[in-house]
Amino acid sequence: MHGHGPHRARTLGPCRGGPALEESAVLWPPDSEPGIVSPFKRVFLKGEKSRDKKAHEKVTERRPLHTVVLSLPERVEPDRLLSDYIEKEVKYLGQLTSIPGYLNPSSRTEILHFIDKAKHAHQLPGHLTQEHDAVLSLSAYNVKLAWRDGEDVILRVPIHDIAAVSYVRDDAAHLVVLKTAQDPGISPSQSLCAESSRGLGAGPLPESAVGPVEACCLVILATESKVAAEELCSLLGQVFQIVYTESTIDFLDRAIFDGASTPTHHLSLHSDDSSTKVDLKEAYDAEASTFGFPDCADAGGLPPLSCMQASPHGKAASESELSTSAAELLQDYMLTLRTKLSSQEIQQFAALLHEYRTGASIHEFCISLRQLYGDSRKFLLLGLRPFIPEKDSQHFENFLETIGVKDGRGIITDSFGRHRRAQSTTSTSTANGSRATGSPDDRSGPSEGDEWDRMISDISSDIEALGCSMDQDSA
């Protein structure tokens, strides 16, 4: 194993530059030199000129780039990268795969070793022409490379797959190298192990390199000048900062959500556990709204969340014995869904919830929800914990564990692998579904489970109605 950890880059690397030689910039491409020539050469040059003319016409026919000129250390507005994109002209040399993951992106020697090796094996071009012209399109979501002519996409790399960006000046060449995660589908040309990576260079192999070595890719680009290379690195660095910042805040939100969501009682539809008597009216206090929580009223004409609260509130107040935490959890979960899911996804969630409640298995429910939420939002599954019936809670907990979100530990380590694990033991009893009984003054009445059931039904119906109203709005 290499020493850097997985490249599914929660470790978003800053742009690193190799040492730049203090030379004057080399013209790109080199100018032609006119002069007095023989008739033979005249014919030859005529042909050359014709080709140059065509190439020139080709260049002038190319569409203008959607770009911005940065004077470093100037920075681009974050919105430009979040809601828009920036294009830069580069030359695409190629992508090297099955590179040892412990390659040091700050090491000019290591990077050039692989580039030279690839050129020798004719995997990378020795000489660059206009045929290698490409457009790099950069946003907060991915780096996309397409040919300058024809616009065919060469490759697309999500930002979270980029481990590091390097600038290496090699004589006249200004190389920008992206170290990225390797697609699991790429089969290495040779078995990548400690043996084959010995050619890397000076120094002993890292201890972690014993045995199978995790592989990465190097995307090799060239820019016309040092300024262009540094500008590209700066833009990528800003993207990393935006994404890393967003991820960090998201991590904070998830930690708060998880800590707040862990029920003090196990709240199941059919639980026999007692719960404390509470005043439901208090449970639906909208205190949270004073701190600028997502506004229930939606500009798209969706019904406010308060409407969804009204019906269970009115029906259950006289009989329910749900805890304050339970009602607040429901409220919080609905608010969260509204902020994390698109309208179409909410419809899908409603459909899945309906299927589960009308007989689909917990297994199907979990799998479908996992697909709906995706990797970046799988933490939302934690919020469902209080609403899973006792009979399904074990399966649900096991499922959470398999996808790495059980008790929030998976969240903390999946997002930022180097971060320490939470030492919480809170969820132990959550896992097996058993809970301490309620306080001495609790009463467990025959209506508790029914009341809870009805409340969940009301919420489910409201979600489904929300989905229907979205259909009408979009029709």
Binding site: I249, G259, D441
Partner: protein, 212 residues
């Protein structure tokens, strides 16, 4: 000592954010003074506590005036945040059980990380790491609170749940403040929000101390 929900709310309101300078700034001063003149220090402490209770914000006003008189130019909010990490003896839970000591420890850890914000905020990479540490500390504190809930049954459970809810609310507010900060760059709002969160952390300890 058993307190009703109403009494707990009143207690919290009395020990409001504006009184934070009393325990964050003045208590350490009184502790130092006790070594010099125990009686005077205790008298002064009692007087300040009583005065602050009757006139919330008085301590802060006095401190600000002293600073003004001495022409000391400090950012009060930032300084308060730096000083707020220290344990407040009045809020520390004395029960020896592991869960309660864990609660003390987790609260202390969160306050210490929050108090480091002024040192880290100007370095984006370090500040993001600090935020991750804060996230973990918040989660661990809430997990510990849940642990105590699970293990011990209280008649004033609602008071404890209310305080937990308040803490979660201020944690979310802190997150929102950070989002705004990354757009407008106004660090002072982060300091204010962090101070509020520290205050809520102390209130959790106070609540558990009182109810337990």
């Amino acid at each position: 000592m058993r307190m009703t929900m109403e009494e707990m709310k009143n207690e919290a309101e009395t020990t409001s954010m504006v009184s934070m300078p009393l325990y964050a700034v003045m208590y350490p001063v009184f502790n130092e003074l006790e070594r010099v003149n125990l009686s005077a220090a205790q008298t002064l402490r009692a007087a300040f506590i009583k005065a602050e209770k009757e006139n919330p914000g008085l301590t802060q006003d006095i401190i600000m005036k002293i600073l003004e008189k001495k022409s000391v130019e400090v950012n009060f909010t930032e300084s308060l945040l730096r000083m707020a990490a220290d344990d407040v003896e009045e809020y520390m839970i004395e029960r020896p059980e592991a869960e309660f000591q864990d609660l003390n420890e987790k609260a202390r850890a969160l306050k210490q990380i929050l108090s480091k914000i002024p040192d880290e905020i100007n370095d984006r990479v370090r500040f993001l790491q600090t935020i991750k540490d804060i996230a973990s500390a918040i989660k661990e504190l809430l997990d510990t609170v849940n642990n105590v809930f699970k293990k011990y049954q209280y008649q004033n459970r609602r008071a404890l749940e209310h305080q937990k809810k308040e803490f979660v609310k201020y944690s979310k507010s802190f997150s929102d403040t950070l989002k705004t900060y990354f757009k407008d760059g106004k660090a002072i709002n982060v300091f204010i929000s962090a101070n509020r969160l520290i205050h809520q952390t102390n209130l959790i300890l106070q609540t558990f101390k009182t109810v337990a």
